[in-house]
């Protein structure tokens, strides 16, 4: 446990030692700010029955997740392998699982920190909406849960991609490709008949796009929770196996 906590702290620290953390946070804040302005503009124009979170997250969420996940996770293993510190790390008395989980945890914590400014936007809205049920806490909770769960999936996929290679750019590209595949699955389900064909159903299940829409509406679906958690675990398991692979190569 001590090794795990030490590693998480070290990983979190290393995000902020490099410029990457600040650039990612700045980029995410810029996009959130843009969406916020767009939202205010829309609210001024016409009345809408859509939950605000859904409108708000419509554009910026995916842009932020798709691009930030590879950038956040690319260095986790690739940099250590490249600089050789991987060897000192793995000859310390820590297990592969501890290392993978610690890096994943650090990535998730950083990712959630990145979403903190969203809370600021919400508070501003609440202040000006003055008590109307424009933003109900349930919807907000659902939205944050969605951000966390989908983040888990993307961070885990990023961990796996980073464990595969010692080149950060390659890691980022693999991670982006996996992320994009999950994102596009929803669109690809379209042409299939959802009720009849298995392909349509399968694609619909992995469509994180639809799942995030539900979360933003405040609908928390256990299928989606299950999907995100199990696939995150699956990717972490793969990352672990990749680390172990140095033993059987």
């Amino acid at each position: 446990m001590q090794a795990y906590v030490t590693l998480v702290r070290r990983e979190l620290g290393s995000f902020f030692y490099s410029w990457i953390a600040y650039i990612v946070i700045a980029g995410a804040m810029f996009l959130m700010g843009l969406s916020f302005v767009a939202l205010l503009d829309r609210l001024q124009g016409e009345p809408t029955s859509m939950p605000l979170t859904e409108i708000f997250l419509g554009g910026c969420f995916w842009l932020i997740v798709l691009f930030s996940a590879p950038i956040i996770t690319m260095r986790l293993f690739a940099l250590e392998k490249y600089s050789g510190t991987f060897e000192t790390l793995m000859t310390a008395p820590v297990s592969d699982w501890q290392v993978v989980l610690a890096k994943f945890t650090a990535a998730i914590i950083f990712y959630m920190l990145m979403w903190l400014p969203l809370l600021g936007c919400v508070l501003v809205l609440r202040y000006f909406a003055r008590g109307s049920n424009l933003l109900d806490p349930g919807t907000l909770g659902g939205t944050y849960l969605g951000i966390l769960l989908i983040g888990c999936l993307y961070m885990a996929a990023g961990c796996f991609a980073s464990a595969l290679t010692r080149n950060q750019i390659v890691a980022a590209m693999i991670s982006f490709a996996i992320g994009l595949a999950f994102f596009l699955a929803g669109f690809m389900a379209g042409p299939f008949d959802l009720q009849k064909t298995w392909a349509g159903q399968a694609l619909n299940c992995v469509s994180v796009l639809g799942q995030m829409k539900d979360y933003a509406r405040g609908v928390v679906d256990t299928r989606s929770i299950c999907f995100c958690l199990t696939s995150s675990l699956f990717f972490l398991f793969l990352a672990c196996r990749v680390l172990e692979s140095r033993r059987w190569r």
Binding site: S83, M90, T91, P93, R246
Partner: protein
């Protein structure tokens, strides 16, 4: 109990054999040097002992614990510094050592205590608050050593600890390693001979994944030192000198070159283990020549090493 016990260790990488059927033992308190050209399997052997990669076959134990099945326990007992000494350049020295100490399971108070101790031991007091990336190579090497020592391991494994250092840095790192030998068992690898000659109690010479020789540096020298040759400078008529040398049955081979003045510089190789020095002296006295140098050239470990690690084809050509 042996500190390291390796028997029939073999490691294959995708068809290539890096280490082939290697067996050796290291006792507690020894400083042992692994010597060999690049690609001889030194690093692979060390990585196996440090539980980074497993062997393809054979067994290795550290302090009686198997490196594969009891890896966690073994790692606690080993301080390992890989080749090129990778560090986190963005951290400060103390921060880095603290991270490593905590990672190795030391409590807060214990790690503070040990960090102070290793900082003094490795002479890092002046730079303990500096960023590692800004340090000189010599200091970085010491940070690597401090990291290997921080949890008070029983065995210290150092892969090329002095690579890329300047002579004065090499000397200080060498002294540090010698000091370590008082309380720890040290296994170090190198292809720099004087280093091994001066620091180690015992040398294992490796080539192409096999151990060619394992002995103390002195014994290894003796093993090939039988034909150690002689250098002498004599002032004598050249022809007379040549005739005298040719008549000496104990002399297997000689070369004569001109030195300044009337002197000739002669390199003499004895046949068998004869000591030629008294004979040369007697000869000079008898003829009334002048002698100004008479010395035996001892084989350094370097020659032993070159002789043992020379590829076979080259040996035949000679």
């Amino acid at each position: 109990m042996m500190m390291i016990d390796v028997s029939n260790l073999t490691k294959k990488y995708a068809g290539n054999t890096a280490v082939a059927d290697v067996s050796f033992q290291v006792e507690r308190g020894e400083i042992v040097g692994l010597l060999g050209p690049n690609g001889a399997g030194k690093s692979t052997t060390m990585r196996i002992l440090a539980c980074f990669i497993p062997a393809s076959s054979g067994t290795a134990t550290v302090a009686g614990l198997d490196v594969f099945t009891q890896a966690d326990e073994v790692r606690r007992r080993i301080g390992y510094m890989p080749e090129h000494n990778p560090l986190h350049p963005e951290l400060r020295v103390r921060e880095y050592l603290n991270f490593r100490a905590r990672l190795k399971g030391l409590s807060h108070s214990r790690s503070r205590e040990r960090i102070d101790a290793v900082i003094t031991q490795c002479g890092l007091e002046d730079v303990s608050r500096r960023i590692i990336g800004h340090l000189s190579k010599g200091y970085r090497q010491r940070v690597g050593l401090a990291d290997a020592l921080v949890h008070e391991p029983e065995l210290i494994i150092l892969d090329e600890p002095t690579i890329g250092l300047d002579p004065s840095q090499i000397r200080s790192v060498r002294q540090l390693i010698k000091d370590l030998g008082r309380n720890h068992t040290v296994l170090l690898s190198s292809h720099i001979l004087p280093e091994v000659e001066m620091t180690c109690n015992r040398v294992l010479i490796m080539r192409e994944g096999r151990i060619l020789a394992a002995d103390t540096p002195e014994n290894l020298q003796k093993a090939v030192g039988k034909n150690g040759h002689l250098i002498t400078e004599i002032a004598a008529p050249l022809e007379e000198l040549k005739t005298c040398f040719e008549q000496m049955p104990e002399l297997a081979h000689y070369t004569i070159s001109a030195a300044e003045g009337a002197y000739h510089r002669c390199a003499l190789t004895p046949s068998g283990s004869h000591d030629l020095r008294p004979m040369i002296f007697a000869l000079v006295v008898e003829r009334g020549w002048e002698l100004r140098e008479l010395s035996r050239v001892r084989h350094s470990l370097e020659e032993v090493y070159i002789r043992l690690t020379r590829p076979e084809s080259e040996e035949e050509a000679l």
